[in-house]
């Protein structure tokens, strides 16, 4: 039976409730919400003057009402140590979402820690140290002292290579400008840590090197461009599920304004279905290409568009590099970069060649080219907004593929103009402010492989869970467990010993090949099971937090509740670690090194913000952001006048491209020819296993999954990761809906639940990525591109039945996700 809360009434928000600005901290879109709080022994009334909504609540409210909230938008939490009612409801005044709530953000309140309501009891409350064969609570000083002392044993002023760091680089969630600065200052200023990686990839690098090298920042438009455009060009993206209210509140109005849609994706998605509903079938073109052939498609489109002369000659002449090659192909550049003509020569692919490689009709490629670039009958240029995401970022030949896509936008002059832009859609929000990472090098070290190979002695982890989300995960987990267990056993053997004896024992185990693991997170994660020290962090709303969304819209989330127990903002945890390192180093007589750890006397997250982001952006303060409310300001901020921060609606409106750092301000084209499946082992895997195991996220299982594994509504829908598979394939394998299957190949195995999907092509499945109960990354091989960008999407494996459908899924809905009008 479907999960029901059996809640049939909710407390009414009183007229004098406190109201806070909240930007949803889950996905990149950053919908505006308001958090209302009021004392637990009070409630509002139904009369308009008795409630904060100002309406008569004794009556049924109409559709799109601002005067309703769901049980998922309600909780009882602690604020300044006291119990308060909490309602977090969508903000109709926010231009991002106009009052829409997604299945994720509209459950923010329900996913807060509450001792009264029993929600999110999984949240970490106190620092913990591995003692007596398990994790025992302790004080911050005790935990940080141990971390600092062990870390100090393996780092030195001139060599910090034995310290490995996995740290988030995102905004939202528990990231944000405060926390990326706190961690960044520690590891990139006080130290120069080279062996580090980011939360969703095994190295410290850009997801989109090529567009930046070409001069084009990947977030260059405004969301309103979707409503101003002639064509929406979506590649490897599924925005209805993973940028929901960007799709509903901006793309759909664009379609209702007459925009056509081109979607490049090997599989059918709910996004494509919804586009057909809104724009009409004839105005939606789905290019269902063979997995991993995006580069060939883009080069074919680029060639055809150039051959037809559908390019913006003035834009190319004035805003792009004139000459031949500006950047040669080398170890750090998987393709040469240069002029339009140089790229055209290198990328040349005929319609016939492109159609054959991608397995789509030539006529469809022509149609796509026309919709993207063919001038209108009156000779005016066509506007096209291009948006891409993990389908190509985590796909074959990342550098050349993204470069080839940006080529099309540059050639048609569709950057820096209304209705244009070529942008990453994004996962998390952004909130990156750190000292230079140039010392890391390019290509950056492949951290996961180094850990597997026995490198590194101490590992600091900030809100990363490699166990659930990395590639080559079977091998990684096996080695990581082995190495961290060596240290656990050494600690167990010295139970009751002095601090000095314990540290000697830990260092002994490290020198024998073990790994000391420190885990900073809001919950006890899967990789946290291997940790020796666990440090509890807070997340958005439990601290003031600034981030920007996919159109660079920066907002301040105001703290509206206490964090659990003794948990702290990451920036203050980093500061505490720096202070303990300074103390320990000084006690050891390493004064010069200790001096590098000064400058962390922050009392609040605002202090960290002022020390970092504000220092470089002096116009921006908490007070000014607070006054800008849920609409915030679009970065970069250029000034402050009339009590308002002045932002930038879209980048490059002056036709000058600067992201590559070239003084001439000219954009570069990417001269990257198609070269098949680029990453090691991919082609062989494709030839050896029957099923494509395409993979990604879903509407319900997305950036909030770390909390949702403890959410009944979500767990009821998908207790196990689904594997969408064609019913005829199911028949051949003897499978029924809900059966559990093993997915296995040359690098590992994992488990999934069968979900029939009639639109799936034969032998092309889609598995939910990042599930706690079935790590898809177990079957993704270690293959990466030259710059260590992982290739999750091109994975092949075989499938065998393990079990009939378990009881928890027998009554579950296995129907089509597609909306059908009546």
């Amino acid at each position: 039976m479907a999960f029901k809360r059996n809640v049939d009434r909710l407390p009414i928000i009183p007229a004098d409730a406190k109201k806070h600005n909240v930007t949803c901290h889950y996905c990149i879109v950053g919908c505006g919400y308001n958090a209302y709080t009021w004392p637990v022994n009070r409630q509002g009334g139904t009369a308009p003057n008795e409630n904060a909504l100002g309406v008569d609540l004794s009556k049924q409210q109409p559709a799109d009402s601002t005067a309703w909230y769901a049980p998922s938008m309600y909780n009882i939490v602690k604020q300044d140590g006291k119990d308060v009612h909490l309602v977090i409801k969508p903000d109709a005044e926010c231009s991002v979402n106009s009052g829409l709530g997604s299945i994720r953000g509209a459950r923010m309140a329900e996913n807060r820690r509450s001792d009264k309501m029993g929600t999110q009891q999984q949240r970490l409350e106190e620092p913990m140290i591995w003692r007596y064969g398990t994790w025992q609570p302790t004080s911050w000083d005790d935990a940080l002292d141990l971390v600092a002392r062990v870390t100090a044993r393996v780092i030195d002023k001139d060599n910090e290579d034995d310290l490995f760091v996995s740290m988030f680089d995102h905004g939202g969630s528990a990231g944000g400008y405060e926390n990326t600065w706190g961690t960044g200052k520690l590891y990139f200023q006080s130290m120069k840590v080279k062996h580090c990686r980011i939360h969703n990839r095994p190295a410290y690098n850009s997801e989109v090197h090529s567009t930046r090298d070409m001069g084009v920042d990947e977030l260059n438009y405004a969301y309103e461009d979707y409503t101003l455009t002639d064509t929406i060009f979506l590649i490897g993206a599924n925005p209805l599920e993973t940028q929901t209210n960007l799709f509903l509140n901006h793309m759909v109005p664009g379609m209702r304004n007459g925009a056509k849609v081109v979607v490049v994706d090997p599989r059918h998605t709910v996004t494509i279905n919804a586009c057909r509903v809104e724009a009409g079938k004839d105005n939606v073109l789905h290019l269902s290409i063979k997995s991993g052939t995006d580069l060939a498609l883009f080069n074919t489109l680029f060639t055809y568009i150039a051959d037809q002369g559908w390019v913006d000659k003035d834009f190319i002449a004035n805003s792009t590099f004139q000459g031949d090659i500006a950047q040669t192909l080398d170890e750090g550049h998987p393709a040469a970069l240069g002029s339009f003509d140089a790229a055209r020569a290198e990328c040349k692919l005929s319609l016939a060649e492109g159609a054959a490689i991608c397995d789509v009709a030539e006529a469809d490629i022509v149609k796509a080219a026309e919709w993207i670039a063919k001038p209108k009958d009156d000779g005016s240029r066509r506007k096209c907004v291009t948006a891409y995401e993990k389908g190509i970022i985590w796909g074959n030949d990342n550098y050349r593929t993204i470069g080839a896509l940006v080529n099309i936008a540059l050639a048609t002059g569709n950057i820096g103009r209304e209705g244009g832009g070529v942008c990453r859609l994004g996962g998390h929000q952004e909130g990156y402010f750190r000292p230079s990472d140039a010392h890391v090098g390019r290509p950056a070290p492949y951290i996961d492989q180094l850990l597997i190979a026995g490198k590194g002695k101490v590992h600091h982890i900030w809100a990363n869970d490699h166990y659930k989300t990395t590639l080559n995960a079977s091998v990684f987990k096996r080695e990581y467990n082995r190495r961290t267990n060596m240290v656990k056993e050494a600690m167990d053997a010295r139970a009751g010993a002095t601090r000095e004896e314990l540290i000697d024992a830990i260092v002994g185990a490290i020198e024998a090949g073990g790994l000391f693991s420190v885990n900073v997170d809001i919950i006890h994660s899967q990789i946290g099971q291997a940790a020796h020290v666990i440090l509890p962090a807070v997340e958005s709303g439990e601290m003031n937090l600034t981030s920007m969304n996919g159109e660079r819209r920066m907002r301040l989330v105001e703290k509206y509740m206490d964090g659990p127990g003794s948990s702290k903002p990451d920036c203050l945890i980093a500061a505490g670690l720096a202070q303990h390192l300074e103390r320990v180093l000084r006690a050891e007589g390493r004064n010069e090194y200790a001096d590098q750890f000064k400058g962390y006397d922050w009392k609040t997250e605002e202090d960290a913000f002022m020390d970092g982001y504000h220092a470089a952006n002096p116009e921006v303060t908490y007070d000014r952001l607070r006054a800008m409310g849920n609409n915030g300001v679009q970065e970069p901020v250029t000034g402050f006048a009339d009590g308002k921060l002045i932002g930038t609606k879209r980048l490059y409106t002056d036709g000058k491209f600067t992201r590559h750092g070239r003084e001439d301000g000219k954009a570069l084209f990417c001269a990257g020819a198609w070269r098949g499946l680029q990453a090691a082992g991919k082609a062989a895997q494709r030839d050896s296993y029957k099923f494509l195991i395409n993979n990604g996220r879903s509407n319900i299982n997305w950036q909030n999954w770390f909390l949702d594994k403890d959410n009944d509504f979500v767990a009821d829908r998908f207790p196990y990761p689904y594997l969408q598979i064609n019913p005829e394939d199911m028949g051949e394998l003897g499978l029924k809906a809900g059966d559990l299957v093993e997915v296995y190949n040359d690098v590992g195995a994992t488990q999934a639940m069968v979900y029939p999907e009639p639109t799936a092509k034969r032998s092309e499945t889609f598995m939910l990525f990042g599930a706690p109960s079935g790590t898809q990354g177990n079957v993704i091989n270690a293959g990466v591109n030259e710059l260590i960008l992982p290739n999750y999407k091109q994975t092949w494996a075989n499938i065998r039945k393990i079990s009939d459908a378990p009881a928890s899924v027998r009554a579950m809905s296995f129907k089509s996700w597609d909306y059908v009008g009546s």
């Binding site: 479907a2 809360r5 559709a63 309703w68 709530g101 809905s813 909306y819 009008g821």
Partner: protein, 173 residues
């Protein structure tokens, strides 16, 4: 949103046509001016027991417009032709749901082929054969379902709802 606004209107007409008016039992808070004595309210809402129809009125897979717990709360009765969890009647196949989408309050329409309630506002799909589980969509709750009782005469009564209805902070206004 023109099209959707029309749908709202259509939805209103549908439930008015259903024409079932139930007397809502509204809990009354009694409070004397001088005495600060709390009234005794039930921990649960008092739902009306409303006759929505008779089993003879229902044909398999043909939705019947109803309203519950009052005339401002449109809903539907369905005979699915096979027993489902929560199903009432001799065959255990009669179910009732709200037809107001728990996401943004748009009127749902019944798709007889898939036996789902579909929302034209933001494309959510709810499975009538799986307790109103949201097969896919934006709502943060599954579709509110009626608790049904069928008496000896075949009369179908609704006597409760298992989730909060859209547009009201108390299911019984």
């Amino acid at each position: 949103m023109k099209r959707c606004d029309k749908m709202v209107e259509v939805g209103r007409r549908q439930f008015l046509r259903g024409g079932v008016i139930a007397a809502a039992a509204i809990p009354v808070v009694g409070m004397s001016a001088t005495q600060a004595k709390a009234a005794t309210n039930g921990a649960l809402l008092e739902y009306p027991s409303s006759r929505l129809g008779n089993v003879k009125d229902l044909k398999v897979n043909e939705p019947m417009d109803v309203a519950y717990p009052d005339a401002d709360a449109p809903g539907v009765l369905l005979k699915l032709g096979k027993a489902v969890e929560g199903g009432a009647g001799p065959e255990g196949d009669i179910v009732g749901f709200t037809t107001v989408c728990p996401h943004k309050g748009f009127p749902l329409s019944y798709n007889a082929e898939s036996r789902t309630m579909n929302c034209p506002g933001h494309y959510s799909v709810f499975d009538c054969e799986a307790g109103g589980q949201q097969t896919w969509g934006q709502a943060t709750q599954n579709l509110p379902q009626y608790m049904l009782r069928v008496d000896d005469k075949g009369d179908i009564y609704a006597e409760g709802v298992d989730e909060l209805l859209y547009g009201r902070l108390s299911n019984v206004l």
